[in-house]
Point group: C2
Chain length 260, copies 2
């Protein structure tokens, strides 16, 4: 792999350039990028120019830089996120229409839940997630479902780590969390009342792939204390089954989904 004088690979530097952009900073100047990616200005200019040529970055009329649609196109065509989202969306639309609350799809990435899709209710309960947002797995209903079905070594590593307490309801001590995970495995549903935001309850169920392994979580966020959470469970379970069936009936996805 080609390396700069400092011994870094080109790709490590490219990753730092691409990582400068997010929903709060959708555009930046080249010198801004150099500073955030800790690169010499000439190096940043060279990398930006080549990334623009390839379509991974675009220039705005004001000579600012943003991520290119090419990056989005590549990711949307081929990643496991794309296949799952494709199978889940029609079912999620129906679920959202029926339950009338935020409806979300997520996968586990390390100790976090990465949210692939969110159908929002305007004026609904507070929801801190945006699409492609992440939450710590132990502090949200989806994360609890995903960790409950993760390999044993992942669970043990999480249980041994220092877990942040967001509210006084966050299951941040290992004994509480371990019994919660066991409970979720046996009941098939996780209810997280105020784990991360007071007043909001997440209700999550697992989505299984063709080999019965849990590949994703489906959840809704409802206002706490209005007795709504239990009412959503049947609708969620039925929707998760529909998505699992859509995944299993799609033989091309078999190999692609078994490790999720």
């Amino acid at each position: 792999m080609a390396r700069s004088n400092s011994g870094e690979s080109v790709l490590t530097r490219v990753d730092r350039v691409l990582s400068c952009f997010d929903a709060d900073n959708p555009t930046r100047t080249a010198s801004d990028i150099a500073r955030h990616a800790r690169l010499p200005i000439a190096t940043a200019h060279r990398l930006v120019n080549e990334l623009v040529t390839l379509g991974y970055l675009e220039r705005t009329p004001g000579r600012r830089i943003r991520l290119g649609v090419r990056l989005w196109e590549l990711a949307s065509r081929g990643s496991r996120a794309a296949g799952l989202r494709e199978a889940a969306m029609p079912v999620m639309e129906d679920l959202h229409a029926v339950v009338g609350h935020h409806t979300q799809l997520s996968v586990r990435d390390g100790f976090e839940a990465l949210f692939l899709e969110r159908l929002s209710t305007r004026g609904g309960s507070r929801n801190i997630i945006r699409v492609a947002g992440r939450l710590p797995a132990h502090a949200c209903s989806s994360g609890i479902v995903l960790i409950a079905h993760a390999p044993a070594e992942v669970q043990e590593e999480l249980l041994a780590s220092r877990l942040k307490r967001y509210t006084d309801r966050t299951p941040a001590d290992p004994t509480t969390l371990r019994s919660l995970l066991a409970d979720v495995r046996s009941r098939g549903v996780a209810v997280a009342d105020g784990f991360i935001t007071p007043g909001a309850t997440g209700v999550a169920v697992p989505i299984r792939g063709p080999q019965e392994d849990v590949v994703a979580a489906l959840n809704v966020v409802v206002p706490s204390g209005d007795g709504n959470a239990p009412a959503q469970i049947s609708a969620l379970l039925a929707a998760a089954r529909s998505i699992s069936r859509a995944l299993g009936l799609h033989p091309r996805l078999d190999a692609d989904l078994t490790s999720m």
Copy 2:
């Protein structure tokens, strides 16, 4: 920029590796990648290993390679596709619920319409688009809208090129297409009856950004000849206005959307 012995940049090679994957080929082996990306097998292995470390590629349990969720996450957080999609989705859900037909959001990339979002109707009329799919701009209602509002030099270049005829209704000759573009600009809507697939009619309207420039197209696909197309126009126009307002009221998107 670091270059290989053959004079190619590392990024050009990385782009060829990432471009190997799509919905039809979501996973590949390393030797498969070497062949498709026209790289020596040792080079392909080195690149794949580094891309896996960065999270741009992932290994499946069967030792196959696929695109990583990190790529999807980056693109979903920062690209113009992400901002537009975020503003459009709640409105598109309502539109889809009312019209009951495929509802799609697209942007222009060169002479093609790139589809950012599709809400599908199971059992609806035939629709050849998948998310992140492309159609030639002259052969679909969304593309006609996007070209009608593109810079003059883009229109002239398209009109001077050889345009493929998909059906006997495709506007593939320059005179027909030029008058169609003028008509779409004055009427504010494009109706494409069987331009690319016999029996399917696309109806598209422009979405305007904060500076009144057209940044995207919103369309529905309805069965041809059932008199449905005209009935959808008011709903489409109202939805496009809602999305434009959402874009304009979001000052952070100003700079980001003006060049779309």
